[in-house]
């Protein structure tokens, strides 16, 4: 059996540092004496160093956390995904990414620093719902973008006429 103080917790830096400041405090309370690591993009590396005893791991990609951009790590006892809102809406990519990291348990830590369990099933359900909404959104986005494109050009021509061709709008 593993000793309590050998537990390893990984925090994925998916929200702003001001929220992470709070999350770190809560993680220290929830997982007492655990070894805490934080996974952040390169620009967050030095900023995360302020947490002192927290190991800083750098996600070696520019893009968002994604299953398409996996990160190899050791096994963790817990992975924590901070979300900048209450429900976790908009963080599906991070939830899916969190599933690719080997861990015994996974949690969401929301803006109010409430911990909620993150399971494969809950992520799967969110992903299915997201897939349906995504398809509908794609079909609707095309005509909406065309309308914006037309308005843009009508107004753009007016701006050019008003400025007597002096200003470029493109």
């Amino acid at each position: 059996m593993k000793a309590e103080n050998s537990r390893r917790v990984l925090i994925i830096r998916s929200s702003g540092f001001q929220h992470i400041d709070k999350v770190i405090v809560m993680v220290r309370q929830k997982f007492k004496s655990a070894e805490i690591s934080i996974l952040t993009h390169v620009h967050g590396k030095e900023l995360a160093a302020k947490y002192g005893d927290v190991n800083v791991l750098v996600y070696p990609y520019k893009g968002n956390f994604s299953v398409m951009r996996p990160f190899k790590t050791v096994n963790y006892d817990a992975v924590v995904v901070p979300t900048g809102n209450v429900t976790g809406s908009g963080f599906l990519n991070v939830f899916m990414f969190a599933l690719t990291i080997k861990a015994k348990e996974r949690y969401i830590c929301n803006i109010k620093t409430d911990f909620k369990s993150l399971t494969t099933w809950s992520v799967f359900r969110t992903a299915i719902k997201g897939g349906v909404i995504s398809t509908a959104s794609m079909f609707l986005a095309i005509p909406a973008a065309i309308v914006v494109f037309i308005i843009w050009h009508i107004l753009g021509i007016r701006v050019i006429k008003k400025d007597k061709g002096k200003r470029k709008y493109g």
Partner: protein, 300 residues
């Protein structure tokens, strides 16, 4: 031989946060750096902030506006600032002791440094996140390799000459993404924006307004405007399409009309935005790190 310290203008915009403004001003006046000009632009508060500043801080320059003009109030303060450098603060943020002196040092060492971005920390975890406990204090800028970042308006230094050239924040934005808009124009001038972990400010960030539609509305609308004002055609259209898609997606997912309202308002202001359109270099737009989904992650 005595060298004169360059004057730093601190510009703070206040709106109904009397106690926070009081604390911020007390902390500013306790800074070691004394060549300070503190400007408070009072954005039409009705909680007596202006009276408090006038009564208790005689050395602070107070500019009272009659209504809340949003980020436009910063521009009023910027215009009257006499300093070589400007420190931008929120009414609920303040710099750590010694941070202003360090900030001046960064600017004096690097003439291409346009904006010195602070590490803005959560005030309510002050003890846990103060620099003193950090085991690895760093003084060098954070490397963001091949991409560019904006900055946090709750703690950032900027050269006054840049404000004079760019005009400061976009008046029409009212709130949010104003930093990104300015950042793009600063980078386009050839200046750098760098984060310095040893420049620390504290911000009283509160999650209490998270159910409000104000933040998602302005964030979403202004992100359209950031793209429309500053991005070259191809990147602008790609990002516009993505953003429209996200507006639709999150409207359905979160069962809210706020994102569609933002889109409508963005389109409504398109005529004005087109007049201000000045695309930045493609490389800058391409490498600017903007989370296109961020407006949709702060509501519900």
């Amino acid at each position: 031989m005595i060298f004169e310290k360059p004057l730093v203008s601190v510009v703070m915009v206040s709106y109904n946060r009397k106690e926070d403004v009081w604390e911020g001003l007390v902390r500013l006046l306790n800074q070691k750096y004394t060549a300070l000009e503190i400007i408070v632009v009072e954005n039409g508060s009705d909680d007596g902030t202006a009276e408090m500043v006038r009564r208790e801080f005689h050395t602070v320059r107070l500019i009272s506006l009659h209504e809340n003009t949003g980020v436009s109030a910063y521009n009023v303060g910027f215009k009257t600032a006499c300093g070589k450098y400007i420190l931008i603060l929120d009414d609920d943020s303040f710099p750590e002791d010694g941070a202003i002196e360090k900030m001046v040092g960064k600017f004096e060492q690097d003439p291409l440094l346009g904006i010195a971005a602070f590490d803005v920390r959560d005030y309510y975890n002050y003890r846990e996140t103060t620099g003193e406990i950090s085991l690895k204090p760093r003084q060098e800028a954070v490397s963001a390799e091949n991409y560019m970042m904006s900055f946090n308006g709750a703690g950032a230094g900027i050269r006054k000459e840049i404000i004079d050239i760019t005009g400061g924040y976009p008046d029409e934005f009212f709130l949010y993404f104003n930093e990104t808009d300015l950042a793009l124009r600063v980078l386009n001038l050839g200046f750098k924006i760098e984060f310095f972990p040893d420049l620390v400010s504290y911000h009283k960030n509160s999650p209490s307004n998270r159910d409000s539609t104000r933040a998602p509305f302005y964030y979403t609308r202004n992100l359209f405007w950031v793209f429309w004002k500053n991005y070259p055609q191809s990147l602008m259209w790609a990002n516009t399409f993505k953003l429209i898609y996200h507006c639709l997606y999150y409207s359905m997912e979160q069962r809210t009309g706020v994102y569609l309202k933002s889109l409508a308002d963005a389109v409504g202001g398109l005529g004005h935005i087109l007049k201000k359109r000045a695309p930045v270099k493609k490389e800058i737009a391409k490498n600017m790190r903007i989370h296109i989904t961020s407006p949709f992650t702060m509501y519900r």
